[in-house]
Protein backbone atom coordinates (compact mmCIF):
# COMPACT_ATOMS: atom_id res chain seq x y z
CA UNK A 1 0.00 0.00 0.00
CA UNK A 2 1.07 3.55 -0.79
CA UNK A 3 -0.55 6.26 1.27
CA UNK A 4 -0.67 10.04 1.50
CA UNK A 5 -2.63 12.37 3.79
CA UNK A 6 -2.95 16.04 4.53
CA UNK A 7 -4.92 18.57 6.52
CA UNK A 8 -5.67 21.69 4.55
CA UNK A 9 -7.55 24.92 5.25
CA UNK A 10 -11.20 24.91 4.22
CA UNK A 11 -10.81 27.52 1.48
CA UNK A 12 -12.20 27.41 -2.03
CA UNK A 13 -8.84 28.70 -3.27
CA UNK A 14 -7.43 25.27 -2.25
CA UNK A 15 -9.78 23.27 -4.47
CA UNK A 16 -7.52 23.20 -7.53
CA UNK A 17 -4.50 22.23 -5.42
CA UNK A 18 -6.34 19.38 -3.71
CA UNK A 19 -7.85 17.79 -6.83
CA UNK A 20 -4.58 18.10 -8.78
CA UNK A 21 -2.51 16.66 -5.93
CA UNK A 22 -4.85 13.70 -5.40
CA UNK A 23 -4.99 12.89 -9.10
CA UNK A 24 -1.22 13.24 -9.44
CA UNK A 25 -0.77 10.72 -6.59
CA UNK A 26 -3.30 8.34 -8.18
CA UNK A 27 -1.24 8.45 -11.39
CA UNK A 28 1.04 5.86 -9.67
CA UNK A 29 -1.57 3.26 -10.64
CA UNK A 30 -1.31 4.10 -14.35
CA UNK A 31 -4.94 5.08 -14.84
CA UNK A 32 -6.25 6.41 -18.13
CA UNK A 33 -6.56 10.17 -18.60
CA UNK A 34 -10.32 9.74 -18.43
CA UNK A 35 -10.08 7.98 -15.05
CA UNK A 36 -7.90 10.82 -13.74
CA UNK A 37 -10.49 13.37 -14.88
CA UNK A 38 -13.18 11.37 -13.11
CA UNK A 39 -11.16 11.27 -9.88
CA UNK A 40 -10.52 15.02 -10.13
CA UNK A 41 -14.20 15.81 -10.47
CA UNK A 42 -15.25 13.54 -7.60
CA UNK A 43 -12.56 14.99 -5.30
CA UNK A 44 -13.55 18.52 -6.27
CA UNK A 45 -17.18 17.76 -5.38
CA UNK A 46 -16.37 16.27 -1.97
CA UNK A 47 -13.84 18.96 -1.04
CA UNK A 48 -16.06 21.83 -2.23
CA UNK A 49 -18.93 20.44 -0.16
CA UNK A 50 -16.79 20.69 2.99
CA UNK A 51 -15.83 24.27 2.13
CA UNK A 52 -19.35 25.37 1.23
CA UNK A 53 -21.60 23.41 3.56
CA UNK A 54 -19.63 22.22 6.60
CA UNK A 55 -18.37 25.43 8.14
CA UNK A 56 -19.79 28.88 8.73
CA UNK A 57 -18.18 31.76 6.93
CA UNK A 58 -15.08 33.08 8.67
CA UNK A 59 -14.53 29.95 10.69
CA UNK A 60 -10.93 28.82 10.44
CA UNK A 61 -11.12 25.11 9.88
CA UNK A 62 -9.36 22.31 8.07
CA UNK A 63 -10.34 19.43 5.84
CA UNK A 64 -8.66 16.04 5.91
CA UNK A 65 -7.65 14.40 2.65
CA UNK A 66 -6.31 10.85 2.58
CA UNK A 67 -5.47 8.65 -0.40
CA UNK A 68 -4.50 4.97 -0.26
CA UNK A 69 -3.33 3.13 -3.32
CA UNK A 70 -3.59 -0.62 -3.54
CA UNK A 71 -2.85 -2.91 -6.46
CA UNK A 72 -6.05 -2.25 -8.36
CA UNK A 73 -7.73 0.64 -6.56
CA UNK A 74 -7.48 4.12 -5.12
CA UNK A 75 -9.38 4.90 -1.93
CA UNK A 76 -9.95 8.55 -1.16
CA UNK A 77 -11.23 9.95 2.13
CA UNK A 78 -12.37 13.55 2.47
CA UNK A 79 -13.39 14.54 5.95
CA UNK A 80 -14.52 17.66 7.78
CA UNK A 81 -15.46 18.38 11.39
CA UNK A 82 -18.27 20.76 10.56
CA UNK A 83 -21.99 20.80 10.99
CA UNK A 84 -22.77 17.39 9.51
CA UNK A 85 -25.69 16.16 7.39
CA UNK A 86 -29.11 15.45 8.93
CA UNK A 87 -30.38 13.02 6.31
CA UNK A 88 -27.58 11.54 4.19
CA UNK A 89 -29.88 9.53 1.92
CA UNK A 90 -31.88 12.62 1.05
CA UNK A 91 -28.73 14.73 0.58
CA UNK A 92 -27.39 12.23 -1.97
CA UNK A 93 -30.43 12.45 -4.24
CA UNK A 94 -29.96 14.24 -7.58
CA UNK A 95 -30.78 17.96 -7.45
CA UNK A 96 -31.17 18.02 -3.67
CA UNK A 97 -29.49 21.08 -2.20
CA UNK A 98 -29.92 23.11 0.96
CA UNK A 99 -28.36 26.14 -0.76
CA UNK A 100 -30.44 26.87 -3.89
CA UNK A 101 -30.04 30.63 -3.33
CA UNK A 102 -26.29 30.22 -3.94
CA UNK A 103 -26.96 28.55 -7.29
CA UNK A 104 -25.84 25.17 -6.01
CA UNK A 105 -27.11 22.48 -8.33
CA UNK A 106 -27.49 19.57 -5.95
CA UNK A 107 -25.52 17.38 -8.36
CA UNK A 108 -22.36 16.92 -6.27
CA UNK A 109 -23.10 13.50 -4.80
CA UNK A 110 -24.62 12.38 -8.11
CA UNK A 111 -21.36 13.16 -9.93
CA UNK A 112 -19.30 11.40 -7.22
CA UNK A 113 -21.51 8.33 -7.72
CA UNK A 114 -21.26 8.57 -11.49
CA UNK A 115 -17.48 8.74 -11.59
CA UNK A 116 -16.38 6.53 -8.69
CA UNK A 117 -16.96 2.81 -8.11
CA UNK A 118 -18.20 3.32 -4.57
CA UNK A 119 -19.12 6.31 -2.44
CA UNK A 120 -19.87 5.95 1.27
CA UNK A 121 -20.94 8.91 3.36
CA UNK A 122 -21.05 8.90 7.13
CA UNK A 123 -22.11 12.00 8.96
CA UNK A 124 -23.11 13.14 12.40
CA UNK A 125 -24.86 16.43 13.03
CA UNK A 126 -22.50 18.72 14.90
CA UNK A 127 -19.53 16.41 14.39
CA UNK A 128 -18.76 16.37 10.71
CA UNK A 129 -18.90 14.37 7.52
CA UNK A 130 -16.68 11.69 6.04
CA UNK A 131 -16.82 10.72 2.38
CA UNK A 132 -15.01 7.53 1.35
CA UNK A 133 -14.69 6.92 -2.38
CA UNK A 134 -13.05 4.09 -4.28
CA UNK A 135 -11.96 3.93 -7.89
CA UNK A 136 -10.96 0.62 -9.41
CA UNK A 137 -7.96 0.94 -11.70
CA UNK A 138 -7.07 -2.35 -13.25
CA UNK A 139 -3.73 -3.01 -14.82
CA UNK A 140 -3.87 -2.35 -18.56
CA UNK A 141 -7.24 -0.62 -18.31
Amino acid sequence: MNKFCMQISALSSNEAFVRSTVSAFCAHLNPTLEQLEEIKTAVSEAFTNCVVHAYSRGEEQTIGVEVSLEKDRASIIIEDHGKGIEDVEKAMQPFFTTRPEQERSGMGFTLMNTFMDSVTVTSQVGNGTKVVMTKIIKEGD
Binding site: E37, T41, T48, V52, G108
Partner: protein, 103 residues
Protein backbone atom coordinates in the same frame (compact mmCIF):
# COMPACT_ATOMS: atom_id res chain seq x y z
CA UNK B 1 -10.75 31.28 -15.74
CA UNK B 2 -10.69 33.62 -18.75
CA UNK B 3 -13.85 34.81 -20.44
CA UNK B 4 -13.98 36.50 -23.80
CA UNK B 5 -17.23 37.94 -25.11
CA UNK B 6 -17.46 37.94 -28.87
CA UNK B 7 -20.12 39.97 -30.69
CA UNK B 8 -21.41 38.64 -33.97
CA UNK B 9 -24.51 39.54 -35.97
CA UNK B 10 -27.46 38.27 -33.96
CA UNK B 11 -25.36 36.43 -31.40
CA UNK B 12 -23.06 36.75 -28.44
CA UNK B 13 -20.43 34.11 -27.83
CA UNK B 14 -18.95 33.68 -24.36
CA UNK B 15 -15.66 31.86 -24.83
CA UNK B 16 -14.59 30.30 -21.53
CA UNK B 17 -11.08 29.03 -20.86
CA UNK B 18 -9.52 27.39 -17.81
CA UNK B 19 -11.04 25.77 -14.74
CA UNK B 20 -14.62 26.38 -13.61
CA UNK B 21 -15.07 25.57 -9.92
CA UNK B 22 -16.45 27.16 -6.75
CA UNK B 23 -13.41 29.41 -6.52
CA UNK B 24 -13.54 30.81 -10.05
CA UNK B 25 -17.36 30.87 -10.26
CA UNK B 26 -17.77 34.22 -8.48
CA UNK B 27 -15.88 36.06 -11.21
CA UNK B 28 -17.43 33.98 -13.99
CA UNK B 29 -20.96 34.85 -12.86
CA UNK B 30 -20.09 38.55 -12.67
CA UNK B 31 -18.61 38.69 -16.17
CA UNK B 32 -21.35 36.63 -17.79
CA UNK B 33 -24.13 38.63 -16.11
CA UNK B 34 -22.56 41.86 -17.28
CA UNK B 35 -22.61 40.57 -20.88
CA UNK B 36 -26.14 39.21 -20.54
CA UNK B 37 -27.52 42.44 -19.08
CA UNK B 38 -26.18 44.42 -22.03
CA UNK B 39 -27.15 41.88 -24.68
CA UNK B 40 -29.58 42.95 -27.38
CA UNK B 41 -29.18 39.93 -29.65
CA UNK B 42 -31.27 36.77 -30.01
CA UNK B 43 -28.72 34.04 -29.39
CA UNK B 44 -26.23 33.41 -26.61
CA UNK B 45 -23.58 30.74 -27.06
CA UNK B 46 -21.44 29.27 -24.30
CA UNK B 47 -18.22 28.10 -25.94
CA UNK B 48 -16.58 25.50 -23.68
CA UNK B 49 -13.70 24.65 -26.04
CA UNK B 50 -11.11 26.08 -23.66
CA UNK B 51 -12.56 24.69 -20.43
CA UNK B 52 -10.15 22.14 -18.96
CA UNK B 53 -12.06 21.39 -15.75
CA UNK B 54 -15.59 21.81 -14.48
CA UNK B 55 -17.54 20.38 -11.54
CA UNK B 56 -21.17 20.72 -10.44
CA UNK B 57 -20.55 24.38 -9.61
CA UNK B 58 -20.52 24.88 -13.38
CA UNK B 59 -23.97 23.29 -13.63
CA UNK B 60 -25.30 25.87 -11.17
CA UNK B 61 -23.59 28.70 -13.06
CA UNK B 62 -25.09 27.55 -16.37
CA UNK B 63 -28.60 27.09 -14.96
CA UNK B 64 -28.48 30.53 -13.33
CA UNK B 65 -27.44 32.22 -16.60
CA UNK B 66 -29.99 30.18 -18.55
CA UNK B 67 -32.80 31.61 -16.40
CA UNK B 68 -31.63 35.16 -17.04
CA UNK B 69 -31.29 34.60 -20.78
CA UNK B 70 -34.70 32.94 -21.01
CA UNK B 71 -36.26 35.85 -19.12
CA UNK B 72 -34.84 38.15 -21.80
CA UNK B 73 -36.36 35.96 -24.49
CA UNK B 74 -33.00 34.81 -25.80
CA UNK B 75 -32.02 31.41 -27.19
CA UNK B 76 -29.22 29.61 -25.37
CA UNK B 77 -26.67 27.26 -26.94
CA UNK B 78 -23.58 25.43 -25.78
CA UNK B 79 -20.65 24.14 -27.79
CA UNK B 80 -17.18 22.64 -27.54
CA UNK B 81 -17.32 20.74 -24.22
CA UNK B 82 -14.66 18.00 -24.05
CA UNK B 83 -15.67 14.36 -23.52
CA UNK B 84 -15.55 14.43 -19.73
CA UNK B 85 -17.38 17.75 -19.35
CA UNK B 86 -19.91 16.60 -21.94
CA UNK B 87 -20.66 13.65 -19.66
CA UNK B 88 -21.16 15.98 -16.67
CA UNK B 89 -23.52 18.20 -18.69
CA UNK B 90 -25.40 15.14 -19.86
CA UNK B 91 -25.70 13.64 -16.37
CA UNK B 92 -27.14 16.92 -15.07
CA UNK B 93 -29.66 17.09 -17.92
CA UNK B 94 -28.28 20.40 -19.24
CA UNK B 95 -28.82 19.34 -22.86
CA UNK B 96 -32.55 18.95 -22.26
CA UNK B 97 -32.82 22.73 -21.83
CA UNK B 98 -29.71 24.19 -23.47
CA UNK B 99 -29.18 23.41 -27.13
CA UNK B 100 -25.91 21.60 -27.94
CA UNK B 101 -24.48 22.83 -31.24
CA UNK B 102 -21.46 21.88 -33.35
CA UNK B 103 -18.49 24.23 -33.36
Amino acid sequence: MQIEIIHQPNKLIARLAGELDEYSAVEVRKKLDWAIDLAVVQNFIFDFSGVTFMDSTGIGVLLGRYKKLKAKGMYVHITGANGHIDKILNTAGIYTIINKIAK
